[in-house]
């Protein structure tokens, strides 16, 4: 009568600490160029060593430039972060995947792609989207800088076990509806703090039918639901997806691992603190209209009108409409767009680029449109180029970049200009997230691609 989360958590409990917290063992620690430098400095200062450098991987993604021909000094402000990540990794004996590595990419994209994360494993990462690896049934745990040092020194995290929530995704998806639309709909339906303090398992026919990469998109935005972790029970498709990847178990280990993964499901009689169900059968493609990930509507929908909303919500709605320069009650389709960004740990895996390329193929972006594709990893980029996807995007007038977080995190200075409206496949639409005064609409790669062609927010079924 255990949940999937119970099974993974319980298998990793080292024991209680004297302050009552639970020490949870970390199988894989994946750190990046934004938080590695201060963590290395803190380690040095306290004279501590890394307990398991062999289970730790450092990658450069947040601070790297994503422009063609980039070097570690393309962005001057980033150069010291990249250098300290490199020198620290060398000093502490940690494997570094820098921009000269064919395995470099966004930490949450490369962790499953290289099979660093595995079903049933615990994966710590100093980034709120650590939950992405839940798509392959790995328990991704997001940490702060101080906790990075703790994991480096002890290979454990001191946590209290979160409460548990199951979201059953019922019905079947219409052909144009993607994992991104589902998670946006869920966040819009229940709000961006509904899962606070909970580990979330997605179940039901929709979750089961999603391809492995779509499950990662689903779990990626659990943090926008307020959740601590996201999971989908791994099935045979996950093992098939992982087989032969760079760090995947080999030989007899592989056989044993696949066997062990078969026990990774929630028992029929397990009880959740919250057990919810939502019908996805009538879903259309979704998009955000405001400045909170919960400000979501369907592409055929209209922007909310504060005057007809409950009194308690009016001020927030007015603030959002004001920032987004939208008219109350107006249709979202037809709103003009300046830029399109296809990238991020939410939607820059190969299948995302394939889906966007299928919309773009043989067409051209609207006049004045600045459209960009930033692959989630160097490996995704290479695979996409082998399939000729880059040519489809370049012919259509898109920029084709190198792998990194780029305009999603915006910490490397790659951002929009004040007043620009962007349709973005990323995960956060907070005011100023993609640059001061930039208006962000979150959507799927297909919807973003269609907006680039049309020059406005549009239901892609209308441009085909």
């Amino acid at each position: 009568m255990a949940t999937l989360f119970d099974k993974i958590w319980d298998a990793h409990v080292v024991g209680p600490r004297q302050d009552g917290r639970t020490l949870v063992y970390i199988d894989r620690h994946v750190i990046h160029d934004l938080h590695a430098p201060p963590a290395f400095a803190k380690l040095r200062k306290t004279g501590r060593d890394v307990r398991r450098p062999d289970l730790t991987v450092a990658v450069t993604d947040h601070m790297v430039a994503t422009s063609t021909g980039r070097t570690t000094s393309t962005i001057p402000k980033s150069a010291p972060f990249l250098e300290r990540t490199r020198s620290g990794a060398l000093e502490f004996g940690i494997r570094l995947l820098g921009i000269d590595s064919p395995m470099q990419g966004i930490v949450h994209v490369i962790s499953p792609e290289l099979a660093i994360a595995l079903p049933g494993s615990t994966v710590a990462c100093p980034d709120s989207h650590a939950c992405t690896v839940g798509g392959i049934g790995a328990l991704g745990l997001a940490t702060g800088t101080t906790e990075v040092v703790h994991v480096l020194a002890t290979q454990t995290l001191a946590w209290n076990k979160p409460r548990q929530m199951r979201i059953v995704l019922d019905g079947g998806l219409a052909p144009d509806v993607t994992a991104k639309d589902v998670i946006l709909f869920v966040i819009g339906h229940w709000g961006s703090d509904m899962a606070r303090g909970h580990a979330v398992e997605f179940a039901g026919p929709v979750a089961r039918a999603l391809p492995v990469e779509g499950r990662m998109t689903l779990c990626n935005m659990v943090t926008e639901l307020g959740g601590r972790a996201g999971l989908v029970a791994p099935d045979a498709s996950v093992a098939a997806w992982l087989k032969g990847r760079a760090f995947a178990p080999q030989g007899t280990d592989w056989g044993q691992a696949v066997q062990a993964w078969k026990a990774l499901y929630t028992d029929a009689d397990a009880v959740f603190d919250q057990d919810l169900c939502i019908d996805c059968g009538t879903l259309e493609p979704q998009i955000t209209w405001g400045i909170d990930p919960a400000h979501v509507i369907g592409l055929s929908g209209t922007v909310p009108n504060p005057e007809t909303a409950p009194v308690a919500e009016r001020a927030e709605l007015r603030r959002a409409l004001d920032y987004m320069q939208l008219q109350p009650g107006a249709p979202i389709a037809g709103v003009p767009v300046d830029r399109v960004f296809i990238g991020s740990c939410t939607n820059a895996r190969l299948s995302d680029l394939q889906a966007a390329a299928a919309v773009v193929r043989g067409r051209h972006v609207a006049p004045g449109m600045h459209a960009t594709v930033v692959p989630g990893s160097t490996m995704v980029k290479r695979e996409a180029e082998n399939l000729g996807l880059h040519q489809i995007f370049l012919d259509a007038g898109f920029d084709w970049g190198e792998a990194g977080c780029s305009m999603c995190a915006g910490v490397n200075g790659e951002e929009g200009s004040p007043g620009q409206r962007i349709v973005s496949t990323t995960n956060r639409n907070f005011a100023g997230r993609q640059g001061a005064g930039v208006m962000t609409h979150l959507a799927s790669p297909e919807t973003a691609a269609a907006a680039a062609l049309a020059g406005c927010i549009v239901d892609r079924r209308a441009v085909q």
């Binding site: 080292v14 004297q18 199988d27 020194a153 002890t154 178990p249 280990d253």
Partner: protein, 201 residues
């Protein structure tokens, strides 16, 4: 983390309530690759030449005395790093922001929530003189003393042990090091593929 030793230092009075962490360390000092947190401590106030920490005799203070709710506001641990890098070892106040107080313990700073009567005496003693007043803070005996002044204070036993033993978060976890060793051996036997990250070709 360093073990907490008895502290003898000039005491600095910040004679007000609700000093939030934005005052302790303005957000601008949290950015960049190598922030000098010590330089950021009370940075806005230190622009004033008359501010107490700029006065001769107070530059090297290790003890701050203040009012209620010290360290309220943003939960930034950087505020504690700023106090630590500046050299502050003891905070004596009526009360503290909750997260801030825990962060102090984790960073080796002693947060003394003083009783009303003792704190009132201490504040008026510091207020009434232009000369530096030295205090001795001894955690082992839980006493603050000075010629003509004495005050006892309370501290939860676990916090006292953590400070005296120099147990930060990591130190506390490493008390369980044998359990971690044992756990690793068990995983190596049961799921060996998780105890290795094979170097790819």
């Amino acid at each position: 983390m360093r073990r907490f030793q008895p502290v003898e230092s000039v005491a600095t009075l910040l004679d007000r309530d609700n000093i939030d962490t934005d005052q302790v360390l303005p957000a601008a000092f949290m950015r960049g690759i190598d922030p000098d947190y010590g330089a950021g401590l009370f940075a806005l106030w230190r622009r004033d030449p008359a501010f107490v920490l700029n006065r001769p005799g107070w530059e090297k203070t290790a003890i701050l005395v203040s009012g209620a709710n010290f360290g309220c506001g943003s939960t930034r641990e950087h505020a504690c790093w700023a106090l630590d890098e500046f050299g502050i070892r003891v905070l004596i106040a009526a009360s503290f922001g909750e997260v801030f107080r825990d962060n102090c313990i984790r960073n080796g700073i002693l947060p003394i929530a003083a009783g009303a009567e003792g704190l009132a005496r201490l504040r008026s003693m510091l207020r009434d003189t232009q000369d530096p007043v030295h205090l001795l803070v001894d955690l082992a005996t839980q006493r603050v003393t000075s010629p003509g002044f004495e005050m006892a204070f309370d501290l939860p036993a676990a916090d006292k042990t953590a400070l005296l033993e120099g147990l930060d978060e990591i130190g506390m976890t490493l008390l369980e090091a044998t359990a971690i060793d044992r756990w690793e051996s068990a995983e190596k036997a049961g799921q060996p593929w998780l105890q290795t990250l094979r170097t790819p070709l």
